[in-house]
Every structure is written in structure tokens, then in C-alpha cells.
């Protein structure tokens, strides 16, 4: 299951969507908004997404999880709009017969999402604002030379 929503993410609900009798465990990653960035206090966070492309890529990640690991169910949910500090911006839950597959798939899902899925976070400070950049997203462009030719 993949979803992008403005409403607060309820982790219990996402967990419930992946718990099945065949699974021996669930691994959950919860990304929460923090109150600092680059040594400055963050007072608010705003997320936006290129929703149709982001959903398509999240579905692609989901498919890849089933292809690479022996898992039973997966959920990838991202929140957009204002996300108050300490609340979840992303929740990924994976159930599997055995924990190694659940851990590996969950890690792959969050790592890939942060690299590739078109979602952005603006951090609002006491004295200004800035778009955040995931370090892995910037490296990737240089590695693949997809950016402007040098």
C-alpha cells in the first residue's frame, strides 16, 4: 500500500495494514520532523510532492520489495503540507516471515525514497526559510551526470 496524505499519519493504522497471520515480524521506520537543521532552530516544516510521479515511484519501490525479499506486506506513507515538529512525515512498515527480510526491505524503501521520490521539505527558521536537500539526492546527480554537463 502506498499513500500521500495531508492528514496526520497514525502509525497504528499503517502497522495494522501489514500485520498478517503468516508474518513473524514487522519492521517499521518512522521519519519524524526535528526542531533543528544546520545549527538553527526549525519552527515549522512544510512538505510538498509531485504527487502522481511520487506515487508511481512509491509503487515501484513497493514492487521492488516483493521482488527482492520474501515479505508478506508493505506500506509506504508520506505526509505533505505542514508537519509539526515531532510528528511523522513518513512511515514505512514491512512484514515478513523472518526479520532479516523485513529489516532489509524497510531500509531499502526509506533509502530509495529519500534518493529519488519527488518530495521536498522546506524548513522554516526563526529568521528565514530554506529547502532541505537530502545528501544522497545530490550525490546521485553527480554520479550519474544527469545534471547540467560540466
Amino acid at each position: 500500500m502506498v499513500r500521500i496524505q495531508e492528514a496526520k499519519i497514525h502509525v497504528e493504522e499503517i502497522l495494522g495494514s501489514v500485520v498478517v497471520p503468516e508474518a513473524g515480524g514487522v519492521d517499521v521506520f518512522i521519519g519524524t520532523t526535528r526542531n533543528h537543521a544546520n545549527g538553527k532552530n526549525v519552527v515549522a516544516l512544510h512538505y510538498e510532492a509531485y504527487v502522481p510521479m511520487a506515487l508511481e515511484m512509491m509503487r515501484g519501490i513497493e514492487k521492488e520489495l516483493y521482488r527482492r525479499w520474501k515479505i508478506r506486506a508493505a506500506a509506504i506513507v508520506h505526509r505533505v503540507g505542514e508537519v509539526p515538529v515531532t510528528e511523522a512525515s513518513v512511515v514505512i512498515a514491512v512484514s515478513a516471515d523472518h526479520r532479516a527480510d523485513a529489516f532489509a526491505a524497510c531500509r531499502y524503501a526509506i533509502d530509495t525514497l529519500k534518493k529519488d521520490v519527488p518530495i521536498w521539505k522546506k524548513e522554516i527558521f526563526e529568521d528565514g526559510e530554506a529547502w532541505a536537500e537530502n545528501i544522497e539526492a545530490r550525490f546521485k546527480i553527480q554520479d550519474r551526470s544527469i545534471g547540467y554537463e560540466s
Binding site: 510521479m53 529519488d116 519527488p118 546527480i141
Partner: protein
């Protein structure tokens, strides 16, 4: 030919618009679109080394050739998660 260009996050702020319809010559590439907006907006030009381009919701290389009606998205470094 006509194409539709979408801008997100810092790219949207750089050009002051989230959605622009432009006419480009036959055979125009993703890079030509970056060139077009980079030449008009200094902030967009500074972003160019870091943005990726998606056409019809898939990432493409910069020499990807565009077609009539394509949806071209300018994707600055992502920061989801």
C-alpha cells in the same frame, strides 16, 4: 511544438510559477528546457547543476528528446523522508 513545464520547490520559487506552457522547436531536449529557463532566471541558472528532469513522470537524461504535449518537470534535489 507545445510542452508543459512544471516547477517544484526551489525551482518553482526561482521562476515564480509552478506550471508554464512553452513552445519549443522540434527535436528540443530536456536540456534545452533547462537552458531556456536558466537564461531567463538567474536563480534557476544556479540550480541547473543540481536539478533532474522528468518527462511524463519519469526521470530522463538531459539529452532526452521531447515530444508535443510532454509534461516536463524540473526536479530540484529531493528532501522527502
Amino acid at each position: 511544438m507545445k510542452i508543459f513545464v512544471k516547477f517544484f520547490a526551489s525551482a518553482r520559487e526561482a521562476v515564480g510559477s509552478d506550471n508554464v506552457q512553452v513552445a519549443v522547436k522540434e527535436g528540443a531536449t530536456a536540456n534545452d528546457v533547462l537552458e531556456l529557463f536558466g537564461s531567463q532566471f538567474e536563480t534557476m541558472n544556479r540550480l541547473r547543476p543540481y536539478v533532474r528532469v522528468a518527462v511524463n513522470q519519469s526521470y530522463v537524461v538531459n539529452d532526452h528528446v521531447l515530444h508535443e504535449g510532454d509534461e516536463v518537470a524540473i526536479i530540484p534535489p529531493v528532501s522527502g523522508g
